[in-house]
């Protein structure tokens, strides 16, 4: 009798908890269906161009359809990691933080794409950004958006300050970081309500000089490399912040002031930011956010560079396929399309520099870019490097950010910064296991 009662209780408990598990069973069953057009699950973050890619692909393809899952951009890295850990039904996804591929690869989530690339006859997008999508010999992500930082400037600010725009110095080969500092200060001196320049808060933005010089902060064998260029850039930033010529990093962080807002407000002379910014400027103009100037006052030129052969900074944005996907071929079809000429054309309409710009994409981008020589600098062939692309990259960037803030607040001398940064890098190597 007692046993029967216990059995009843256990049955009741099972009935109550079974819906928790039933959902998972249904999902895994659903993923193996292949009748009709194959539908893949693709994860990315909320960006208008990403949704447009999915929509256009679905419109133009009948054999493969993409179910786009759009996550919030702010926590995308966290969410995608959690989803991968739970082996969520993901066939392909967009990589947001480039250094995350190391952890994902170590955990066996990333399908090597070498054989797919070979079968497709190669990929120019991969050739352009191979070092930042490869781990050893495996290519684990396919770039679709090009990575490059530029100097964006507001001609009306330069007019008010009565000084030449940065492209003048690019033309005569003197657009160095020293000149950038000089120009930033000149703008602020001419009118104290104007701010010469802004470099946004991301830790990776503190490595421009190191990126361009070809430094490796920590190499793949765990050796800490040359950190002098990191200090050199930080010292420049502090001088500019102290003189009021550059937006203060900590103020930007605390007030959550976005770089686009700084530029829209019309008081900022120069902004060093990535290749996606023309798209944001176009949106800003469309929404009437440009304050006291027009889109025609917007200019693009090279990033300042101390190295004789020009180099810029930033890895590409790429897509990966999961190892456990049952629809890898379909997933490849989509991500390869995104990196190809059709995807590039869509990217171009959103003011995005594609990883491999087709003629059509170039013509669309050129139409949407500001008049003058902006298109020439935006589209010229360029080498884009990253000094912090390693399995230690995410932690190096986070620890650097802390020390950078300490330095900018005046709590550390240059020597103390270097000692601490070197020690932190060594500690990161020791505690990565």
């Amino acid at each position: 009798m007692e046993k029967r009662k216990l059995l009843m209780v256990a049955t009741l408990a099972m009935a109550l908890t079974s819906p928790l598990f039933a959902q998972g069973a249904n999902e895994s069953k659903g993923s193996s269906k292949v009748a009709g057009p194959v539908t893949i699950n693709y994860y990315t973050w909320n960006d208008a161009s990403h949704q447009a890619m999915v929509d256009e692909f679905n419109k133009t393809h009948t054999d493969v359809q993409v179910d786009g899952h759009i996550l919030a951009a702010a926590d995308y890295e966290t969410k995608i990691t959690t989803l991968l850990s739970g082996r969520a039904d993901i066939d392909a996804f967009m990589e947001k933080r480039p250094t995350d591929i190391f952890n994902q690869y170590d955990n066996g989530y990333l399908e090597p794409l070498n054989s797919y690339i070979e079968k497709s006859g190669g990929s120019q997008a991969v050739d352009n950004y191979k070092s930042t999508v490869s781990i050893d010999k495996d290519i684990v992500a396919l770039p679709w958006r090009g990575g490059a930082y530029f100097t964006y400037y507001n001609k009306s600010v330069f007019e008010k300050a009565g000084i030449p725009t940065p492209d003048t110095y690019v033309k005569n080969g003197t657009w160095t970081w020293e000149k950038f500092e000089e120009v930033s200060e000149a703008i602020h001196k001419a009118d104290s309500s104007l701010i010469g320049s802004s470099i946004y808060i991301w830790g990776s933005n503190g490595f421009f000089m190191a990126d361009q010089a070809g430094d490796k902060l920590i190499d793949k064998d765990g050796n800490v490399g040359n950190l002098n260029n990191v200090l050199k850039q930080l010292e420049m930033r502090k001088r500019l912040e102290d003189s009021g010529s550059m937006w203060k990093l900590i103020d930007m962080k605390v007030t959550k002031t976005h770089y686009s807002k700084q530029f829209y407000d019309g008081k900022l002379g120069m902004l060093i930011i990535g290749e996606w910014f023309p798209g944001q400027m176009a949106t800003g103009e469309k929404d009437g956010l440009l304050n006291g100037y027009t889109y025609e006052d917007f200019g693009i030129t090279r990033m300042p560079c101390d190295v004789s052969d020009y180099r810029t900074s930033n890895p590409s944005t790429a897509n990966s396929i999961t190892t456990y996907s049952k629809k890898k071929d379909a997933a490849w079809e989509f991500i390869n399309w995104m990196s190809g000429p059709e995807g590039a054309a869509i990217a171009a309409t959103y003011g995005i520099l594609p990883a491999d710009a087709s003629d059509k994409a170039v013509s669309i981008i050129s139409e949407n870019l500001p008049k003058g020589n902006s298109a020439q600098y935006y589209l010229e062939p360029k080498v884009s490097q990253s000094s912090n692309f390693s399995m230690y990259g995410t932690r190096v960037e986070a620890e650097f950010s802390k020390l950078q803030e300490d330095y900018l607040l005046g709590n550390l001398t240059s020597k103390q910064f270097m000692d601490k940064f070197t020690s932190v890098c060594n500690e990161i190597v020791k505690t990565t296991y």
């Binding site: 170590d106 103020d251 605390v254 020390l403």
Partner: protein
């Protein structure tokens, strides 16, 4: 003598208890066990991990960043507990007496507690904005130097503490009002007849009478103090790594960063276990110590 329960009664009781028990096992017990097991691994969010013994614990205690986080957490916990309990008690004493509008005042001081921490955090970000925030405007209007508030490595944690105290002391106030109203008036009358002044009544009647509630309040405040996370995430930028130069990296925030930014789930689990042991230890000490000052038989 209590009637012995029949088997069918036991079955009914079990059937009511079982769903909660299953929930407890799935959502509390199992994650605790998993965190404990993971703390001995180098788990980074995927299948390729291995057991590494005590390495995570050794690394944590030899890491200056973790030690700094522990120090900041203790500082935060001590200050918030003291301020929340003292202010809660003070306002409870003021508002425990019946007077016209006392209910309105009680509600006003309690309302922040039912607001979302995210909304409160965002509102205070504007108040403590370093360039043109309300607080700096107030400072400047009375001739004081503006402060950096959240942008200063020395001020950021104090701002977080202020916001936490502002939002939470009302909760303790309500607890204490309930406790104060349960202390028999006769005890106060007897002490008055013995010539006790306000202070003596407070020490010898109010505190002992309120001690069980005070003990509960302090215990809860200490645990919450150790677990602080939400204001730091909202007000100093979760993805951007917290306050300037790591000044608001309390232990719960450090656990979050190690888990979801660095994917060091094994190490973060070790930090969680350490935090749990600290909370258990402090709560145990409090529980032991209560025998000296908590009176359950005064009423």
């Amino acid at each position: 003598m209590a009637k012995k329960k029949t088997l069918s009664e036991k079955g009914i009781i079990l059937s009511f208890l079982l769903p909660s028990f299953i929930g407890f096992c799935i959502f509390i017990l199992l994650p605790m066990i998993m965190a404990f097991v993971l703390s001995f691994t180098n788990y980074s969010g995927g299948p390729s991990y291995k057991m590494i013994g005590l390495k995570n614990y050794i690394v944590a205690f030899s890491n200056s960043s973790f030690i700094q986080s522990l120090g900041l957490t203790f500082k935060y916990m001590l200050i918030t507990v003291i301020l929340q309990i003292v202010l809660g008690l003070l306002f409870a004493i003021l508002l425990s007496k019946e007077f016209s509008g006392c209910s309105a005042f009680r509600s006003i001081y309690y309302i922040p507690n039912i607001l979302s921490s995210v909304a409160v955090g965002l509102s205070f970000m504007f108040i403590f904005e370093p360039s043109s925030g309300l607080m700096n405007q107030l400072f400047m209007s009375i001739g004081l130097e503006p402060s950096k508030w959240l942008a200063g490595s020395k001020d950021a944690l104090n701002v977080i503490i202020t916001v936490s105290v502002w939002q939470n002391f009302g909760y303790y106030m309500v607890l204490f009002i309930g406790g104060l109203q349960n202390i028999p008036r006769t005890l106060y009358e007897a002490s008055e007849m013995d010539g006790a002044n306000f202070f003596q009544k407070f020490i010898h009647v109010t505190i002992p009478g309120l001690s069980p509630i005070l003990f509960y309040g302090i215990t809860i405040a200490v645990i919450r103090g150790f677990q602080a996370f939400d204001y730091i995430y909202v007000m100093t930028g979760g993805q951007q790594g917290g306050g300037p130069a790591g000044s608001t990296n309390l232990i719960a925030f450090d656990i979050y960063i190690n888990s979801f930014t660095f994917f060091r789930f094994g190490y973060a689990s070790a930090e969680s276990v350490i935090l749990m042991i600290i909370i258990l230890f402090v709560t145990y000490i409090q529980n032991k110590g209560q025998k000296r000052w908590v009176s359950y038989d005064i009423v």
